[in-house]
Subunit: 233 residues, 8 copies
């Protein structure tokens, strides 16, 4: 990329209330996504349509995260073939890229499921394979140890955990893969809406743990996809 | 204990600046201790002397925690036979009770040593045996698993850990013994002087974990001693 | 327990979304519990059924905490003989072990009742006796002093308190029993959803106080049950 | 006081770097004090001199708080008859008013002594009597109960406590006197430099507790003096 | 009060879920109050009835704070003559003591009204007169200055303020009366539910400011009543 | 302004529950506004009416912020010609001053729109022109660079941003105009309701950034209006 | 400024460890400053020399903030004519622009002096006049009112205050000038190193208050200078 | 890796106070490191010696982080050929692996240098190439844009930034490489020892940003090395 490209004539789709970054995929390898929280259903639909219109590849594709029920309905009304994952709160319109590689997604408990689902949906949107193993928290350490073969087979590992957030520390000590840790807001009291898990992961005693925001399955998915895709090249 | 005992004629040693609770051992099973932080060396020596004077058993014994170098010197000048543990910052004057039972004290890393030493000194002062296994953090999970036989042999377990504080969650999933968790101020940045470890332990996903204040080896030792002594009765 | 047991062939019940730890009771002495928060009623019922199916003792028993109304109804529809404690938000299916020993459960105020009820339900599920004395906050110190005989008779003491959380400090100065302190989210303003009581208990000036998470009646109950059962052996 | 007085010709002593409020005693009943922290010794001496110069009563008097060793020396060099209380870090120059009434000052532990000393020095400066009883923390509740006669004799009560800060809650349940609670920065870990005690006192379950800033013996002393003086009128 | 009184035969009304402190008024000069938050309407009514039954004076009186609509209705159904102040969320049953003295209650803004109303209701329940002046925040400093005559006439001053909580600092510089400061949860963003105002008041640059918990109109009212009553003796 | 003006006969409109500061515009150049949060619709209408009654200029004008639906309806019922901006939650009654100058209002994302709308409404009420450019967050830096011509044309710049709050740092490095930064509560997890953006803006590495409270579009608008008007003089 | 200017050939002085932004004054109107904290004396001297070398105007000028004693000495050794303000910790080398306009700088107390001195030094470096009035805290409100004539004469007002940080709220209610509020870390306990003052200022009940980081006299000075210079054009 | 390997006969070097994890490199691809903080110089030397003794490859190599002056001297005394990087506080003994690939390390300001140096030393120890570009903070956005060619050439990017921590948000919008963000404790006041930068990075509006602990150059280096090495395979 030449530096001049950055400011001369970026391809931007102006919608008045929003400015679609049609150029993002070329720059960052990740397609622009519509963050539906704080947008009306109509605004989200308009953004998705704008992204589809601006797409330059052979298979138009656009997607949105943090989609509530009303927005999901609006998307499905406009594009009946769209795929909406209710647990992940994601909507995919058109055909995502063929998946390459594989990211292992672990959860510490059942309640971490929705965030793991967002990771999985993001991987699908980014064209990367996903393998999930759920409910392997450290309170039953044999459950963690049993995923060792899966660790060896993965391009990267995403660990989703709330409460004490201890799982990434253990996993990172068992593998040479990068571990992307996602704290969740699961827990009560001194969990402080995910703060406890966040601090645990930031201070993990095993190196190789990288952390994203609380409940940010999207960010973890994008990062893991970048790793997986670059290894598959 | 009759209720009236609580307020009628408690045996209290007044030193002007302090009020020794000579009756504490009868009430709580744990001898009064001198918390030397915030006291001058002379005040700590005076408190120890007051406790020795007020002792009613056959073997006078008194002790102090948070003893700095100057106080240690003052104690040793007054009682040359005193035992001062520099790492634990504890001073024991006279003969502690014969140890019964055994508490297992685990540390996650080498830097947690001073707090574990305070636990050990407290156990000795309370007349309970102690077995230490150090540096078994979860980043090398086989190190944790290797202590399983020790867990089975202990009356109670004290786990001392800083940084992510994840060790108690794993240990409590491996044993039916009570796990007393001590967060330490070891770590930097988002460890926030022990806050991260404290929150991790409070939100441990394995039940049976009980928590004391950051760096509070004394409190953990007293509690573990109570458990051990009550099991030995 | 031999170390090899930990990883070879653990008895795990896979339900897809959850991985039941059927082996937990053998390892930790405490039966696996279903944490119903964040699970659908159907998921909780499925977990309970899985635990009952996997039970190896003569009296099948399983239980769940943080049960809301919908889940309670689903449990009762499946097992009409189940016992649901609405205040404690716990459901017990089958026959819990016969109670041994006795844990004293104190509350500082009437509003701490639901958490104390969770402690009591947990003790019942773990097969330990329970004696409750409510509303003995330190603002009327004679109320605290009046429980001295109960303290002497208990195997362990659980103190449940919100607002200033001062009760455990006073109780621990009156007894040689272990005091498990449960901060509650009762209070407003600077109580900060239980943070004030939590900090008070962690910094209690009387040793022998061990702390669990805010509103964590379950954790306190499990810990107290371990103490009581080990003393009764 | 007429409203116009407030802005017309207040008696202010300008020192360049400071603006002495010579009128404060008339308005608020409390003489202006020099807060020496953040001032050089020379600045503190200049402020004290300015206050003495501006004094209108028969007995010139001025005083300073948070006086360090260098400032104390400078004060004593200028006014050899000044009274400097090293523990309280206060310096009194000239003759304070004759004491009336009596405020009871309680401390929970020996380490709270310096703050209690600042309370006592403030009472002396404000012309109010002081009675101190130290080291009556709630871990030995009989020590608290033994001060009941002192409570009944006092015009107001100041309670100084660090760590769990539980003492004011108990005291306020025993008396009809106003309880001014001073949290201290004594303690470690989750005491968070006095935050734990501050929150405990703010959420005290007994009404009649009023709180000042951490370690603010000066503020507590001024408030208690106002109460005492108004009762003696 | 003799010390023995404290533990011998306190007059306590046991209701099972609650333990009424019928002796509180004798000890502390303030009648026991029912804190209705966290109680069912029936429980609050039962507590009020218990207090009325236990009353020993000629005019039975009992009251409750934090009364919601359902509880208010239950109280009025049982005692049609009860007085319920909807803004203050207080219910008074029977005849409160004749008011003596006068407390000045200031609010910084209109939104602080409900907390000020709780102060006023508490003063009425404690038998103290009340004068309110509303909406005198420091953004229009002439509004503050205009209350100077009211300050001079009051026995004590209660200042209720949210947002920046700056009003007590200004008021305390204008009067020799004790200023009881009540931070409110009014405000948004960095007001952090009253934390900003709380910290402002604790660090007020004018001495003589004493602080209660956020939104704690009850505590401020009790304290101010004690001051006023003691001045009227 | 002479000093005496400040306290002599301020023109204040007393409404019982509120004290309108009719004199504010003369003193501060900004007309008094009604903060409708925490007021009933009737109270807000009464305040607006009082301001209109007290207006001395040729064109009566009054306005309110934080207007919810019920209040908006009440305002429109009373003054059918009022302008209510639903996104900004502002109501303007009468004719605001003719706009002079121009303030540039930037948002980082679509979700920051409501706060930017409050800025715009405030500018209109204060008689200053407004130019908005939305959705120019730093993740697509060319979007920021493209506003350089707008920066040069503005009297002041208001930057509204949630999440990482990084936009003001970049903008302030591109212009000599004052940058008023408004953190918004947009974001989740470690955004902590706007705290992350607030801290980012306070620590901006480019000087010339001034910060207001989270979501405080009103405060930013008033400040920017003052700058613009003073430049146009 | 044309957009292309921003990226084409910026004039940057590379020093290896630092990249001087010689172009900053053209872009932002404020000359680049050397932030000496975290730099060795030699590095600061090298940066200053680089800025002087790169200066294009007739009067070379460069300056540094947060200069400690060692750095001050190094600067004076290199440039004996440099002006070092020890209280402000600023060093000015060469001749700053002739001052235009006037900014009023107020402090609440004497201890806020060093931060106010940094404001003043920054104004001098930016070529703006400064008038300081010190020690006008709200505890003596007449002191605040007495600055009214100064407010009217100023182009902008900077208010520096620690502890409760209440002064900007009062000042902003008295003037139509922009008020730049600087919280300082003066105070103890609940002042939390300036956090209390920061929150107070962010939630100021008077509009027109803009806030900078704690102790950030530099940032306040730059902002005030921009306002003053733009008014003088 | 077979699961049984994890617990059967791990190669552990016991030093009494520490338990060297000689097997870590086989499991995780990263050689064990000695964290020297909290260890005596002798302990660090003993750990390094133990690692060198346990090394199985042809070129023995061991290293330590957080090395203070005394420890550096002890290392150099024992191994005169060791390489000690004073800014990075790292010591490398023996010959690190030949570097493959290249990681780009950016700093926002000069003061972030020590943390970037730790990243660089870690990369060298892990056998990965490093390219540093310093002082490219967003306040001069052209400096950031000028690194675009470097971004395209790198295997991964590490961004080190204190104060507002805004740099990773901008960088991640310009590249498809993974961005590892390291907040530093550089800054003052509301930077809160790196908390502001940490929160900014966690809430970065550009996906692909992964975060490590404050000042944790080691963790960032290990993670970036894993990415680079996996791309080079």
């Amino acid at each position: 990329m030449r530096q001049a490209d950055l400011v001369s004539e970026p391809r931007t789709g102006h919608l008045g209330f929003a400015r679609l970054d049609l150029d993002r995929e070329r720059r960052t390898g990740t397609p622009e996504v519509v963050f539906a929280a704080g947008k009306t259903p109509a605004e989200t639909v308009a953004c998705l349509a704008g992204l589809l219109d601006g797409a330059t590849g052979p298979e138009p594709f656009a997607w949105a995260t943090r989609v509530d029920d009303a927005t999901a309905a609006a998307v499905l009304e406009r594009w009946p073939d769209a795929v909406v994952d209710a647990q992940a709160r994601c909507a995919l319109v058109g055909r995502p890229p063929e998946p390459v590689g594989e990211v292992l997604v672990l959860t510490a408990g059942t309640s971490d499921g929705p965030v793991a689902a967002e990771v999985a949906a993001t991987l699908r949107a980014c064209g990367v394979g996903c393998r999930r193993v759920d409910d392997v928290g450290v309170a039953g350490i044999h459950r963690v140890l049993s995923v060792a073969p899966d660790l060896a087979a993965a391009d990267a590992v995403v660990v989703v955990a709330g409460m004490d957030g201890a799982l990434p520390s253990v996993v990172a000590g068992l593998t040479d893969r990068l571990v992307v840790a996602v704290p969740t807001s699961v827990g009560y009291g001194a969990a402080f809406e995910g703060l406890a898990a966040l601090l645990t992961m930031l201070t993990a005693c095993a190196p190789g743990v990288l952390v994203v925001n609380i409940d940010n399955g999207f960010g973890a998915g994008v990062a893991a996809a970048r790793i997986a895709r670059s290894r598959q090249r």
